[in-house]
Symmetry: C2
Subunit: 246 residues, 2 copies
């Protein structure tokens, strides 16, 4: 095994075993180079492997740190099933939900041509104008995910969904008041590396994949009336569902 | 913008716009170096960016190719709700399911000490012996995901769940016959880069993140009787749920 891989393996194992804990600083490049009697460039190559794997982050000029993985519960069912149905799910929330967080968001409204992925799901011609309500959601000032919802223009025209303000009852309830109540949704998750725009919008470190969560909401008549693209950084979320046998 | 970033941006855009399609070969390093009048090392750095983003794969000695993304539908609800409930979900399957695939699997059974993540979910002491049924599932000979299910030893001892053979009715049904019918489950998804073992087991290319899907199944009495860890490579799956408003 080349030296850089041995260095990567040693620190990977220390993180897996808990000998190094989230937030801990690794020894400096110089210290590692000395311990292995190798060039500093070799150490850098070894640690770069762990950065790409998402296990450590490089914070110049302070050094390398074990990544802090604080996973908030992301529960897609929350919008259609407000309360957990089982005591197991209640316990789940008690164990891993966090408290004392300050949420905030930015909202931008625009009229955009439907991209192929939006057009297919909203069942409109590609390029047709749709309303995009783009949000970045933050906790304690740090971005946690993005939520870009697209609506057919005729459904939301002249409504407050087209204004860049918070809608206290939520857009789903507002859409229902406009005559487009959703009765079901399809959730899709694609797991991939982020685009440069997503890295920028969500301030992602190297080695951070995302889930693209696409929600298509349907009325009782089967008409798709909204398509949401949520981008969920892997280091900030655990996606959770509860299901029952039928 | 440095030259390597300009090169990355050009090919990223060509892939996003569809000018380069899945499976297409990129020009050679030499051709790109000539077009940009830069060193071949610069071209390599630019293309390495796109490899890390999962957009292209390097297949030495043949060159760089746009990644083929064939997403099979992965539907966690299938085990607890065999049929889609809505015409929208039926349409979804018709659009994106694939045909003519030859599934196969390998099965290994072992007795292992419960890791912290298994112990917590099965509600047993860490290190207690549990039964692990580890499978690699392949389509047309290529691995698509791994499925490692853990059972409390007392629940499955002396049953065929402990033999490394296919169980025609499935392990959930078999578990029910043994007196441990599951009535609900909690699904968790963690999005991260793969471990070296996962890269090996699933033959993953660089820039391929995974979803770790953890399923904990409960009896009517609330006892957790199995905990499954599924590793789903992002380039091979789309995870899909159907939900109704309540």
């Amino acid at each position: 095994m080349p030296a850089y891989q041995r260095i990567a393996a040693e620190y990977r194992n220390k993180i897996a075993s808990g000998a190094l804990r989230p937030g801990d600083r690794l020894p400096t490049e110089q210290e590692v180079a000395h311990a292995y009697t190798v060039a500093r460039q070799t150490v850098r190559q070894g640690l770069a492997t762990l950065v790409a794997e998402g296990l450590i982050v490089a914070q110049r000029p302070h050094g390398y740190f074990v990544r802090q993985r604080e996973h908030m519960v992301y529960r897609p069912q929350a919008e259609s099933r407000p309360q957990p149905a089982s005591p197991e799910m209640d316990r789940y929330f008690q164990q891993i939900s966090s408290e004392g967080r300050k949420p905030s968001q930015t909202i931008e409204i625009s009229l955009v041509p439907a991209s192929p992925e939006i057009a297919q799901r909203l069942d409109v011609p590609e390029g047709q104008t749709v309303v995009a309500r783009r949000r970045v959601r933050s906790i304690n000032g740090e971005p946690v995910n993005t939520n870009d919802t697209h609506f057919p223009l005729d459904a939301v025209k002249d409504s407050d969904i087209m204004s860049p303000e918070d809608i206290p009852q939520g857009t789903n309830q507002r859409l229902a008041e406009l005559g487009f109540a959703q009765v079901r949704a399809i959730d899709e998750f694609f797991i991939r590396m982020p685009t440069p725009e997503e890295v920028h919008r969500l301030d992602l470190a190297a080695g951070t994949p995302v889930a693209l969560h696409i929600v298509t909401g349907y009325t009782a008549e089967g008409r798709p009336v909204r398509c949401t693209l949520n981008v969920l950084p892997g280091d900030r979320h655990v996606i959770v569902y509860e299901r029952e046998w039928e």
